[in-house]
Symmetry: C2
């Protein structure tokens, strides 16, 4: 069965957390909006349908046969066991989903550093407020979130270097992407902070070295970060902590 | 088995979405921080533990025996089947979780109308930006989200008046709370919008009339909305759409 991933073309964005799981598992999937002749129109048609019974609010969403699943954490919760990227123990699955939802919240805050007032307006129309929000984000929110994930790694009773249990899960892949994105968007801040989060950095390096991830990152399927995505490099927002 | 709900005392906040499910089901639970002699200290101790293997990032979280589950959507996904508040069909459970995550995003946007710049600062320190964000929220975001939920109700093939399938679920209870909160925080805007969302209003009324919900709303366990919670009544943010 071929999975269909629906997400905006041209950016990594939230879709990237799903792509990393599909790529690591070597799953058979189509990135629908990047397919010649299909593209964004098919995605919008589905979202705007007045007949479809289970419409998603926004991309990304996944199609698996008749099933449509929306929201990154929901998609990963669905795919995890199917791709061998979720813990076997049910108790750990609830924990994994909680971690993924914390990542979701963090990503929303990353987005709001460049869009603190209105998603319907350009960054340039809210630059002053973005600067203020970035000060808060870099000073308080980055260490709060990364400090939490570092503790999760440290306090994992399996001492495995993984976020959950004793093996790789979609949460590890997402934490890799969080570090990648922060390094792109806030290089100055991250140079300052990174030494404090040695467990996270080890995890990042180990994910990057996984054969399927390394192959994906080197492929044209991995888009570069850019200033239409969630992680954006605006030097004026890269505050010195 | 008694469930333990951990959330900030004194506000409805995000904990309220969990309370409504527990109350509707008549479940045996303790609102831990409101217990004399336990309170917030016990919650903080758990969150700050350097030994506990599965620490939550933030309240609310639920304790069920040894299992700790954090994030509203995760908690409701866990409780739903146990409380008879989730659809039986697995396909519908994925849809329900997706809807709950859309509600989660909406609630985060409600919060940011009064805290667009920094959660570490008071509303009074970001009033100017809050006004701008509220204009965007009332003008674009309320109709986008409520319009979506209205369509979900209209396009439910079961035609049941419920968000998912043919019977009550935790999603319905959460949508009730969304309407309650918006009416409290944005009464002027809601008077303008409500006539457009007749299915949502019918759902709201039907949840409110459920015996256990009615009893809960009339009890001292239901705190009033206030200006420490997520839905806050600041007249200057209640824009005319």
């Amino acid at each position: 069965m071929t999975y269909g991933l629906y997400y905006w073309d041209g950016i990594q964005g939230r879709g990237e957390f799903v792509r990393l799981a599909l790529e690591d598992a070597g799953a058979d999937y189509i990135d629908v909006t990047r397919e010649p002749g299909r593209g964004t129109r098919e995605m919008m048609k589905l979202m705007e349908s007045t007949a479809e019974p289970r419409i998603p609010f926004a991309p990304p969403f996944l199609r698996d046969g008749d099933q449509i699943i929306s929201h990154v954490a929901n998609i990963l919760s669905y795919l995890g066991p199917r791709l061998g990227l979720a813990p076997k123990e049910e108790a750990l699955r609830w924990f994994a989903n909680g971690l993924q939802l914390t990542i979701t919240d963090f990503i929303a805050e990353v987005h709001d550093t460049h869009h603190p007032i209105a998603t319907s307006k350009y960054y340039e129309e809210q630059k002053v407020e973005a600067k203020d929000r970035a000060v808060e984000f870099v000073t308080n929110r980055i260490p709060k979130f990364l400090g939490y994930f570092e503790r999760v790694l440290e306090q994992n009773p399996d001492g495995s270097g993984h976020a959950v249990g004793c093996s790789i899960s979609y949460v590890d892949l997402s934490l890799f992407q969080v570090i990648e994105g922060l390094r792109y968007a806030f290089p100055k801040a991250m140079r300052h902070y990174e030494r404090q989060y040695s467990e996270l950095l080890k995890l990042h390096a180990s994910v990057k070295a996984r054969p399927n991830i390394a192959a994906y990152l080197a492929s044209p399927r991995r888009l570069a970060f850019n200033e239409n995505g969630i992680f954006r490099r605006y030097p004026e927002l890269d505050i010195e902590p």
